[in-house]
């Protein structure tokens, strides 16, 4: 009976309809918040409180004007991109290298390194921020880009190594062996074979490393608080204050911080999609 049901479910169009229905349902839950935030950014607070889920009656740009006055917005965007971008590139480079070793080699202290990585996943940011702050002061880096780039690189490396080594470990050995026969060095194998083949995983890591670095308000407030270096997320802090609640302004600030990262995301997402197409395992 179960088997029969399963067959009906899977073979028939009903199955397809169910699949689509479920996928669409989930898509609605993920799109709705964005629409909500965007919609509320055009409302004044009273309108939000009166009907938090109704559509804005007219496009009111006032919230954006106020938000833009709070921070040097262009400068902050540039700061964000320099810091999160550099951290992401370092993560891809160094994370890729380490993952290649941990994913595809057997050696004496491997266990030690994998344990370190697992440990790294568990270290709470709240407890390391003060030692990191002291360290940055000693290195005379506080309020420079590096103050944020270095710790962000370290924490994202952990995630990168985890995902990349798992991905790389299951790439077929045959290709690497063929290259060895052709006389390629390890470095050449890494750059010409492993990296291109891991492209989808690298893009995934890039997306999330960038996202986390970009959205990390907490470290930014402590390590790069200076106006000249602070990233765009501090805008979120600048519009929330102990003097008043302004939901409309907060929504506008969120929109302003999302827009650029959204573009980056779509760009990198394209890498994944192209990677998928090239690998050809997913039917487009």
């Amino acid at each position: 009976m179960m088997d029969k049901l399963k067959k009906v479910f899977i073979k028939s169009n009903i199955g397809r309809i169910f699949i689509y229905a479920f996928l669409i349902f989930w898509a609605l839950t993920t799109i709705a918040p964005l629409v909500w935030v965007l919609n509320n950014s055009f409302k004044v607070t009273d309108e939000i409180m009166d009907s938090p889920f109704g559509f804005a009656e007219n496009l009111n740009w006032e919230n954006f004007q106020v938000a833009v006055e709070r921070v040097d917005i262009i400068r902050s965007y540039i700061n964000s991109f320099i810091m999160s971008g550099t951290a992401t590139i370092l993560v891809l480079f160094f994370g890729g290298m380490a993952a290649y070793i941990l994913g595809r080699f057997e050696f004496k202290f491997k266990k030690f390194f994998t344990t370190i990585v697992a440990l790294g996943l568990l270290i709470p940011a709240f407890s390391t921020i003060i030692p990191v702050y002291d360290l940055m002061i000693k290195l005379n880096l506080i309020n420079t880009y590096l103050a944020l780039i270095l710790p962000h690189t370290a924490s994202n490396l952990i995630f990168a190594i985890f995902v990349l080594s798992s991905y790389m470990s299951s790439l077929p050995d045959s290709i690497e062996e063929a290259a060895i026969v052709d006389g390629a060095s390890r470095f050449q194998i890494f750059t010409r074979i492993i990296i291109p083949m891991s492209r989808p995983a690298l893009a995934t890591v890039a997306i999330f490393s960038f996202l986390w670095s970009y959205n990390d308000l907490f470290s930014a407030l402590i390590l790069v608080s200076d106006r000249s270096v602070r990233p765009i997320v501090v805008l979120l802090n600048e519009v929330s204050s102990r003097y008043g609640v302004d939901y409309g302004l907060q929504a506008a600030a969120v929109v302003l911080t999302i827009v650029p990262i959204f573009l980056v995301y779509l760009l990198l997402q394209d890498y994944i999609v192209r990677g998928l197409a090239r690998q050809g395992s997913v039917k487009e």
Partner: protein, 296 residues
């Protein structure tokens, strides 16, 4: 894999940069944190040595005990919802042709939007007076409900946090699926396998290690859950939605007890490590009996 004489050198050279970062900016601060956990430190001034005093306090602190329990429940939900649903969506998307790209893009939206914004959104959804849920309820003709109470608050924060990360694991699993050679599916199709069978016998076994990685990331991720819980409930009412991340924050940043906060941080690391080892053990045995590695 020992084809080269100088593989040792390669191993060292390739590991050095990444682990230099990790040692300096994660492990060194962790060691400092452990050192601090042996002191009474208020507002980072005048440390007073208390030995293991903070550790003794850990197990009589009712806030801490609640936080541990809540975190465990949270972990189970995270694995089931985040990884489970993420995997289901990733597999389902492989069954369809039209719209796959669209779904791939939109499922990650919640991770793109900052936790602060989502926290605010859910605060408004749960709000007693203007919230979405109570608006619906009053349409249906019922009286408004308090959504965040002592009994419900943990679930009220688990729902949005796990919902947010489904897209993340969806992408991880989807990425993993890309490495499965298309030929495997083709030959299965020739043998007349249906979707279910292909999933069961090809996809799932081949992405098992990635699922395991995802489960570990999900479990360890829960020890760090903070922003959304803080904004929606601040761990309350009466600690009922307190998790380790929020409790650590409140002890360190609200109470400024840096020594005791460090103790909690050390506990989180040890606690998480135990869970990771346990998970690995549980999934390893599954691994050995469950799947071979066809064609690889």
């Amino acid at each position: 894999m020992r084809q080269f004489e100088d593989d040792k050198k390669v191993i060292i050279m390739f590991l050095i940069p990444a682990f230099a970062f990790i040692f300096i900016f994660l492990l060194y601060p962790l060691i400092r944190t452990f050192y601090n956990s042996l002191f009474y430190i208020l507002q980072n001034t005048n440390p007073r040595y208390v030995g293991l005093g903070n550790y003794q306090k850990l197990f009589t602190d009712s806030g801490m005990i609640t936080a541990i329990w809540n975190t465990l429940i949270f972990m189970i939900a995270a694995v089931l919802i985040e990884v489970g649903l993420g995997t289901v969506l990733a597999i389902l998307i492989n069954f369809i042709k039209r719209g796959a790209k669209f779904f791939r893009i939109v499922y990650v939206f919640p991770v793109v939007v900052s936790a602060a914004a989502l926290g605010l959104l859910f605060s408004l959804i749960y709000n007693y007076r203007v919230g979405l849920l109570n608006t619906i309820i009053s349409w249906l003709g019922y009286n408004p409900i308090r959504w965040i109470t002592r009994d419900s608050s943990l679930w009220a924060v688990i729902a949005p946090v796990t919902w947010r990360y489904v897209g993340f694991y969806f992408i991880i699993i989807l990425t993993a699926i890309t490495k499965i050679p298309k030929t495997l599916y083709e030959s299965a199709e020739i043998e007349g396998a249906n979707r279910w069978q292909k999933t069961r016998h090809i996809t799932l076994p081949l992405i098992f290690s990635d699922i395991r990685i995802s489960i570990i990331i999900a479990i360890t991720g829960v020890t760090k859950v903070f922003s959304m819980v803080w904004i929606i409930t601040q761990g309350g009412p009466m600690n009922s939605s307190q998790v380790l991340g929020t409790y650590l924050y409140s002890v360190t940043f609200q109470r400024r007890l840096f020594g005791y906060g460090s103790t909690i941080a050390v506990f989180i690391v040890i606690f998480g490590l135990l869970l990771v080892v346990l998970t690995n053990k549980l999934l390893k045995s599954d691994d050995d009996s469950g799947y071979g590695t066809p064609g690889m």
